[in-house]
């Protein structure tokens, strides 16, 4: 593209806007296919297995380690102000409000997102999508929509698992290893964590992230060039775009939910 040529710049800008418009229409299409897709639940549950069950291991182990680290770091900082009994509260709030939704979304983008992108990109490269269109079967309905809704169901559940396992991890390090009082660990947590404000907002965040990450993965796969480099570039773009989107949205959502 010739940067100095106004016609080329104009065309490129128009194509960029057109790309965004097309992606927005695809998103809207996927949203409106909610009811028909969930009616064919067998397709969704298959995808739920691939996206959810197969990500469970990495989410749980990561959650455990994050919980360990929170327990350690939290203890070192809190005990300087004599507030180490608030460790449970610190670990729970950090996980439920921020780390649970965000880190799970990032891990999901890396594991499930890339596999979605690669699968759909390769289907396109192997002409499977075209074959389906020629058989008068809409690929958006048959291939994309079940994966979209499976991702939307899977990620909030995975975030919850992450937070829960993380809290347990914090308990293991704080109470079992370091010796913080078990009673105050749990009671301060119960007193300080508000179900609607903290847990509820965390769930809302993870739902927003689920829509974002799954859509980005499907979009990159569906619009990938049907060549090996096209698919590989698409999978990289999935991770980059989804991660940036998650972090950006996290800032926005936190500002709206926990505003000054």
């Amino acid at each position: 593209m010739r940067w100095w040529h106004p016609a080329d710049v104009g065309r490129a800008t128009r194509e960029w806007f057109a790309g965004i418009g097309w992606a927005a229409r695809l998103f809207w299409r996927l949203l409106t296919l909610a009811v028909p897709t969930l009616r064919r639940f067998r397709l969704v549950s298959e995808q739920l297995h691939f996206l959810g069950n197969y990500s469970l291991a990495i989410i749980a182990v990561s959650g455990l380690f994050v919980g360990f680290v929170l327990g350690l770091q939290g203890y070192y900082t809190l005990q300087r102000y004599g507030a180490s009994s608030a460790l449970g509260l610190l670990v729970a709030l950090s996980l439920v409000r921020e780390l649970g939704p965000v880190v799970s979304a990032l891990l999901f983008a890396g594991r499930a997102g890339t596999s979605l992108t690669a699968e759909i990109g390769l289907m396109r490269a192997g002409e499977q999508i075209t074959a389906m269109e020629m058989m008068a079967v809409d690929p958006v309905r048959r291939i994309l929509a079940p994966r979209f809704w499976a991702g939307v169901i899977a990620l909030p559940l995975l975030s919850a698992v992450f937070s829960a396992v993380g809290i347990l991890g914090g308990w293991v390090v704080g109470v079992l290893l370091i010796g913080v009082d078990a009673g105050s660990f749990w009671s301060q947590m119960q007193g300080g964590v508000d179900v609607l404000l903290d847990v509820g907002n965390g769930v809302v965040k993870s739902i927003v992230f689920a829509f974002t990450v799954t859509f980005v993965a499907l979009l990159q796969g569906y619009s990938a060039k049907p060549t090996p480099e096209g698919v590989s570039r698409a999978t990289t773009r999935t991770v980059v775009v989804a991660s940036l989107a998650v972090l950006g949205l996290d800032f926005l959502l936190t500002a709206m939910m926990f505003s000054i």
Binding site: L122, M123, G126, E127, Q128, T130, A131, M132, E133, M134, M135, A136, V137, R142
Partner: protein, 287 residues
């Protein structure tokens, strides 16, 4: 099983009982390059029509136009009297239900096994019971000789077998028209012979209309009833296989007899040999 009727607003050309597919003055191109320039051809019902020509000659484009994958920039592509390019999505959906397409390397769904691949159109478009679907799938697989391979995965079958499974899938809904995109590319002689025979047999046994796009002159002309040679955005010749074989048109002759140089040049256009290899020219002296 519901199939929306073709859109009644697109006027049907006087129902052509002779030709199932008609291209009338069709032009198609992209990026300034015209792939098809005012091409007119007719595909007779119940016969095997061969579409041949050099690479990039527009053969696959014709298939895409017929299937509604691409829209002609001018002219009309008629399927059973209705213009494919002007169809509503519902009408296109109904039209595609009456077509089957075989892609170059099969394009089987890799996450399904052989049986499920053939069953796919039945499961998607019909409400038939599992038992009935099983019987139909096994019959289609039997027609291509692969009934025993029904539980194999797509990675466990050879290229020739994959193509035959794709053929079974293409005829699963008993279409009227089957489009074959390079069905013989990369096959060993036995598989090639089997594929050619199957195309002919299925066409006659099921009363299909078949369009075969291929480079393989001998095999294709052997099974075709009618042949079209495309070149340079237009039709070089159309007629019976014998007419093609014995044509004296330079382009068709070069193609049929596999000659390296003729109307389709061997050398890619560029600088002359003298300019690249000859003695260096000093400014002013004629090259």
């Amino acid at each position: 099983m519901d199939s929306p009727a073709p859109d009644s607003t697109t006027p049907a050309v006087a129902a052509d009982t002779d030709n199932l597919v008609v291209l009338r003055d069709v032009s198609f191109g992209y990026g300034g390059r015209k792939v098809l320039d005012k091409v007119s051809l007719a595909v007779p019902r119940g016969k095997v029509t061969a579409l041949m020509g050099a690479s990039g000659g527009g053969k696959t484009t014709v298939l895409r136009l017929i299937g509604g994958q691409a829209r002609a920039q001018s002219g009309a592509v008629l399927f059973d009297g209705h213009d494919v390019g002007a169809m509503t999505p519902a009408a296109l959906f109904a039209a595609r239900r009456r077509m089957g397409m075989l892609f170059q390397f099969g394009a089987l769904f890799t996450d399904l096994d052989v049986f499920e691949n053939v069953a796919f159109p039945l499961r998607e478009h019909t409400d038939l019971s599992d038992a009935l679907i099983r019987d139909i799938v096994l019959m289609k697989l039997d027609a291509v000789g692969l009934r025993g391979a029904r539980t194999l995965g797509t990675s466990e079958i050879s290229g020739g077998m994959a193509r035959r499974v794709a053929m079974a899938r293409a005829i699963a809904l008993d279409p009227e028209l089957v489009l074959y995109d390079e069905p013989f590319a990369g096959l060993d002689p036995i598989s090639l012979g089997i594929s050619a025979r199957l195309i002919r047999q299925l066409n006659d046994a099921m009363g299909l209309t078949s369009i075969v796009v291929s480079h393989d002159v001998d095999e294709t002309l052997h099974i075709a009833d009618h042949a079209v040679v495309l070149a340079n955005g237009g039709i070089a010749l159309q007629g019976t296989p014998d007419e093609i074989r014995h044509s004296t048109d330079p382009l068709v002759y070069q193609f049929v007899h596999a000659q390296p140089d003729g109307p389709v040049r061997f050398h890619y256009p560029g600088a002359t040999a003298e300019a690249d290899f000859g003695p260096p020219t000093h400014g002013g002296s004629p090259s």
